[in-house]
């Protein structure tokens, strides 16, 4: 997970490479802390900035995502003969 201390040192590029779910969770936590109301005004502003960064990283990830596919045991596939195309 991404903690606050690491958030501060991570560059935007590094942040954008974090797993998407981590980014969303960090964003959720940031928002919850903001909403919690325990933070002072300055701390709130810091949290807000942090939220904006995480939001930007999430958006970038969504926008640039491309499905990656790995096929296991390509050589060892004995069942590689084509089956009739399924209609389902």
């Amino acid at each position: 997970m991404i903690d606050d201390a690491r958030l501060d040192v991570l560059t935007d590029e590094e942040l954008a490479r974090r797993p998407f779910d981590e980014l969303v969770v960090a964003l959720q936590q940031t928002v919850q802390r903001l909403e919690g109301g325990n933070a002072g005004l300055e701390e709130s502003i810091k949290l807000y900035r942090q939220g904006l960064r995480l939001h930007g990283a999430c958006e970038t990830r969504l926008r640039e995502a491309e499905l990656t596919i790995t096929e296991l045991g390509r050589r060892g596939v004995t069942g590689a003969e084509p089956e009739p195309a399924d209609e389902g």
Partner: protein, 436 residues
């Protein structure tokens, strides 16, 4: 004889005859026997068979014997059981649709109709569908295995694990060719392209499918960091899907180390592997959808989080202002003390003023006595004591007798009024004598 109209040919010409079963035989019984041509006979038999609604729509079970596949693409065989046999014809189109090739000794269930084949004087089964018999057996085996595996606890609800909401890696076991793999790809590309797909390919049809599926699953089980596994196959006949009812496959599904979604066939196809899965998907595409969140919705969710952050920050600012307002009010609440201080200050000032006034008053008294002293020293007071002041016409006070001569005017000022005189004579000395 050959010119004699046959009974068959004549029949339409005898509409006056009573219709009914006896109508056709009565003339023959009454007169000489009618001799039929073979063609007529066969046509009559065909007509008879064609008019039988049961024979037009019949299911027959039997064993295939001596099938032949001539170049025409059709298939002819004999269907038999222990006591009887019947010829069967499976035309090219139906053969292609059947998805199986009749083989000698195979037990099959056939649907079709019975017709006469006039040129050969035979009746045969015209097959429109053929399936391997034992489908009934399959069902019985399915039920038996279902009960057995259910008793072993493989299908229990308590075993089912929740599917990861945000999968990073999804393993898929299916055939790498065909529509299913393509469909899964398309769904995920559209829905959640953030995910990494690990394909463990397998045949999913035929007798080798069951062990192949088990191997493919186990290859995935050896992978690390998989969040979800999908086992998928397209629709097909009960036989096609049978490997998903194979005990080895069902047990392998139940052993999945991570949550597994099974999507086999169509919605109505429920295999034992479905029961053993953590989640059953009605179709392979549905499996891909159930395995992933929708990125379009995610964008909305993320947008809302940002809005919430903004709202919270604004809330903090408003709260802060409210707090400041409260502080101001609290300070206002301290005002009476300031008043008191002011009162104290005012008192102090009053006391100061009073002290000053007293000092001033004392000063004034000192000044007044000084003035009184000064007053005693003034010329008026001297005059009052009887002295006079003599002034020359130039206004000078006369202090020396030599400064004036006889006959000069002189003004003498006394305590009350003045006297204008002229000098008779002057003396330069003897002042002290005169004053005593």
């Amino acid at each position: 004889m050959t010119n004699q109209p046959s009974l068959w040919d004549r029949q339409p010409e005898e509409p006056q005859e009573e219709p009914g079963p006896a109508a056709e035989t009565q003339p023959a019984a009454r007169s000489a026997p009618r001799i039929l041509r073979v063609t007529d006979l066969n046509r009559r038999v065909r007509s008879l068979l064609d008019s039988d609604s049961v024979l037009a729509d019949v299911w027959v079970e039997g064993e295939v014997s001596q099938p032949s596949f001539p170049p025409s693409g059709h298939c002819f065989f004999t269907l038999k059981d222990a006591n009887s046999q019947v010829r069967a014809a499976l035309f090219r189109e139906e053969l292609a649709r059947a998805g199986m090739r009749p083989a000698h000794g195979m037990n099959v269930i056939i649907h079709g109709r019975v017709r006469a084949y006039e040129p050969q004087g035979v009746y045969q089964l015209y097959v429109d569908s053929i399936t391997a018999a034992g489908a009934g057996d399959l069902h019985a085996r399915y039920e038996a295995l279902r009960k057995q595996l259910a008793a072993a606890g493989l299908f229990e609800e308590g075993r089912k694990r929740p599917i990861a909401h945000w999968p990073r890696r999804i393993g898929v076991v299916t055939s790498p060719v065909g529509a299913v793999w393509r469909d899964i790809n398309n769904v995920l590309r559209r829905r959640y392209p953030l995910v990494e797909l690990i394909l463990s390919p397998s045949v999913v049809q035929g007798t080798t499918a069951a062990p192949a599926i088990v191997r493919a699953l186990q290859r995935l089980y050896a992978q690390r960091d998989l969040d979800t596994i999908i086992l998928a196959r397209g629709g097909g006949s009960l036989e096609d899907l049978w490997s998903f009812n194979d005990e080895r496959v069902v047990r392998a599904v139940a052993e999945a180390p991570v949550p597994i979604i099974v999507g086999v066939g169509h919605e109505s196809d429920v295999t034992l592997a479905d029961f053993a899965a953590d989640l059953r998907a009605p179709t392979p595409s549905a499996a891909a959808e159930l395995a992933t969140p929708d990125a379009v919705q995610l964008a909305t969710v993320i947008g809302r989080l940002r809005e919430r952050a903004t709202a919270a920050l604004l809330g903090r600012a408003v709260e802060r202002r409210t707090f400041l307002d409260a502080e101001r009010r609290a300070l206002a609440g301290l005002a009476p003390d300031i008043g008191a201080a002011r009162q104290r200050a005012s008192d102090l000032l009053d006391r100061g003023t009073r002290a000053l006034d007293e000092r001033l008053a004392r000063r004034r008294m000192v000044i007044e006595s000084a003035l009184a002293t000064l007053h005693t020293l003034s010329p008026a007071a001297t005059l009052e004591r009887g002295y006079a002041v003599a002034r020359t016409p130039g206004g000078r006070i006369l202090r020396d007798a030599t400064e004036i001569g006889a006959g000069d005017p002189l003004q003498v000022i006394v305590a009350r009024g003045s006297v204008d005189t002229r000098v008779e004579r002057t003396r330069a000395d003897g002042t002290e004598e005169l004053l005593t």
